[in-house]
């Protein structure tokens, strides 16, 4: 978070818990507290939304001038010069505790069931500050526990504390104002206008900003307890914006959530639902038993020595389709032999490769004297004014900076048709070129594929498994040329080598005379 000193804005001096600090007068007091490491609880306040001061949990004691100190809501009070702020005074604590008691008055005690438990602001502050037992003998109000608000969100009206963050999200951020607080007094609930389901590509954000477990994602509901998720700082792969996200993995295996992470230059606090639910690109099922293709490729497969597409070789251990599983070293040796013997070579990159992997691919291309391009699919029509660029290539800018041209799938096919041997590099590269285009390639081009999945293409010579974008390190450049770092959120399946290492070994092996490369030694 940027401090007022670093932004160069005019600042004023205030007293905060006994020490003199500089604060930005255009910001509410709660921001000054948070910027200086003073923890003030907040439910209705969210730094990305306009403040309303409805929950009153952020009350602090402020003394201005000669007037006696007053308890004010820190989110609705602007910073003024000479303010003396005490967030920990007995009066402030008492006021906050009383607010909390009223917020908990109708809040159901279903933390064991609630998905928010563990990352719930209400739970945390009630544990820290609240009293153990309620004093009310009135029954809690009974409302709908499971109201569907469209395809993405479920509302639990009993848990809602009416902070109106979700209402303001649709007003301030998307500008569609789809939610409202309806009803009066104790009968107030969050509802959509006319009961119409929520629409748009940004609905998932309201589940993130909900300070309690009232709004939950249908896709994540009851999937995991949040303290079992390992969170890794990374970036989204679904468009060229490259939103800052955390990847949350259950038991080191399954990616359960992508959540936005604050990035002032790119996505603020938000991300789109396309990126949020892009599990299909990282959760690739394993191959069917006995099959080598169609599922996540963990090792390597190659066309059997005598195998022909569509024909097995009886008694040779070669699979029914003429493919056999081999270890990575042998597969690399086979690939190097094919590349060394060929006349015309082409390298096609996936737009998902990192700059580091692209560098290794360019090194291989220099060794081979091959032409390099990347597959550039057309815009996917998801573009909007907020975040999604509509361009499904997260590293387009980076590859163009390295001088790799982007070609449409048909141009790639034309280039492949002219080559003797082609190397297809990176996750989903076959899918983006189009399996039917690759299957229809004529002219006997031999394909060396480094992808997540092996497909039984007629020209397939060797296929090697690679890590997907949550399993590797590296960086992309987003549409504005900003560096987007990837981190390893879970380890790649056993047998899968980093793509940079595979390309480096291949480049080392093709330099040697043919035949000597039967097996690459590490």
């Amino acid at each position: 978070m940027t401090t007022p000193e670093s932004t160069g804005k005019p600042t004023v001096k205030i007293q905060l818990n006994g020490s003199e600090v500089e604060a930005d007068p255009s910001q509410p007091l709660i921001r000054a507290c948070h910027d200086h490491g003073v923890d003030v609880p907040m439910y209705c306040y969210h730094p990305g939304l306009h403040p309303v001061g409805s929950c009153r949990i952020c009350q602090v004691e402020v003394k201005q001038g000669e007037a006696p100190p007053r308890v004010v809501a820190a989110c609705r009070t602007s910073v003024a010069p000479g303010m003396v702020v005490d967030t920990e005074s007995p009066k402030a604590h008492e006021t906050r505790r009383e607010c909390l008691e009223f917020l908990l008055k109708n809040h159901p005690l279903d933390c064991p069931i609630c998905d928010k438990a563990g990352e719930c602001d209400l739970q945390d502050y009630a544990f820290q500050e609240g009293q153990g037992e309620g004093r009310s003998s009135e029954p809690r109000r009974k409302l709908h526990k499971r109201r569907s608000l469209g395809d993405v969100i479920v509302l639990d009206e009993e848990r809602c504390i009416l902070c109106s963050r979700c209402v303001r999200f649709f007003e301030d951020v998307t500008g569609t104002a789809q939610l409202a607080v309806t009803g009066l007094g104790a009968r107030s609930v969050i509802d959509t206008f006319m009961g119409r389901p929520l629409t748009g590509n940004y609905q998932g954000n309201v589940a993130d900003i909900c300070p309690v477990g009232a709004l939950t994602l249908k896709r994540f509901r009851f999937q995991a307890r949040v303290w079992n998720l390992t969170k890794t700082v990374s970036h989204c792969a679904e468009c060229s914006r490259g939103c800052a996200i955390t990847v949350e993995v259950l038991r080191r295996k399954q990616v359960k959530r992508f959540r936005p992470r604050f990035d002032p230059n790119v996505n603020q606090y938000w991300m789109c639902d396309t990126g949020r639910f892009a599990f299909d690109h990282v959760e690739i099922p394993a191959c069917e038993p006995g099959e080598l293709t169609g599922g996540r490729l963990t090792d390597a497969v190659q066309r059997g020595a005598h195998g022909v597409a569509g024909q097995g070789v009886a008694g040779s251990g070669v699979g029914a389709r003429g493919l056999e599983a081999v270890d990575v070293d042998r597969a690399l040796g086979r690939a190097a032999d094919a590349l060394t013997g060929a006349a015309a070579r082409a390298i096609v990159l996936s737009p998902f490769v990192t700059q580091e992997e692209a560098g290794a691919a360019l090194e291989l291309a220099r060794t081979l004297g091959a032409e390099v391009c990347f597959v550039s699919p057309p815009p996917n029509g998801l573009q909007d004014d907020l975040l999604h660029t509509g361009d499904p290539c997260p590293n387009r800018k980076g590859l163009e900076t390295l001088g790799v041209p982007g070609l449409g799938a048909d141009d790639v096919r034309a280039r492949l048709a002219k080559a003797g041997v082609a190397v297809l590099v990176g996750e989903r590269v076959q899918e983006l070129i189009g399996l039917e285009r690759l299957a229809a390639l004529t002219g006997g081009v031999r394909l060396i594929v480094l992808d997540l999945v092996a497909h039984d293409l007629p020209g397939l010579e060797v296929a090697l498994g690679v890590p997907c974008h949550v399993e590797k390190q590296g960086h992309w450049l987003n549409v504005d040329g900003l560096r987007r770092d990837l981190a390893i959120a879970r380890s790649a399946p056993a047998g899968v080598e980093p793509l940079t290492r595979l390309l480096g070994q291949l480049a080392g092996a093709v330099g040697r005379p043919a035949g000597a490369t039967a097996e690459v030694r590490r």
């Binding site: 064991p112 009851f222 307890r225 303290w227 079992n228």
Partner: protein
């Protein structure tokens, strides 16, 4: 270096027989006392309400598990013996475990799960025996863990009584 001087044996000790008789007299006296060994598998151990055996899941009177798969026992388990996956159900209690596994080879019978449970869904039963032919069969799933509430009632009453006593004697308001 120390040179040890062995004690010179007395005549009675050198004769050997008096000492033998002294030892046998203890043996013969025990013949006529009550035996303290137990014929264990045929003659089971006495089970008390404080017996803290293996953890078991409570099945409520309506036939559903009391567990809502909140994962607190999983988090409390010091031996990482418990694994829970929940799923949504259509009842007012919105979630129940799809998979609830206790690796009984890992379980150290500490009772933290019983203490952590907010729903009175897991209790330490009086079942003590644990033997099987493979490791996989000792990872108990819901089928092997569930018990009707009546089977655990003695322990449930005991835990309630102990907790009440603790609550009343507690100095915190």
């Amino acid at each position: 270096m120390v040179i040890l001087q062995r004690k010179e044996l007395t005549l009675a000790e050198r004769l050997y027989l008096p000492e033998i008789l002294r030892g046998l007299s203890i043996t013969f006296r025990k013949f006529f006392k009550k035996a303290i060994t137990r014929q264990y598998p045929e003659e089971p151990l006495p089970k008390d309400e404080v017996t803290r055996g293996q953890p078991r899941l409570v099945v409520k009177d309506d036939g559903h598990l009391a567990c809502v798969s909140c994962g607190l026992c999983e988090a409390a388990c010091p031996a990482y013996a418990i694994t829970i996956d929940g799923h949504e159900v259509d009842r007012p209690i919105e979630r129940e475990p799809e998979r609830f596994e206790i690796d009984m080879l890992r379980c150290i019978l500490c009772g933290f799960c019983e203490e952590a449970c907010p729903k009175d869904a897991i209790f330490m039963s009086d079942e003590l025996e644990l033997a099987d032919l493979t490791r996989a069969e000792l990872v108990y799933g819901i089928d092997k863990l569930k018990r009707p509430r009546s089977a655990l009632q003695k322990r449930i009453d005991y835990v309630y009584r102990i907790n009440d006593r603790w609550r009343n004697s507690s100095s915190t308001p």
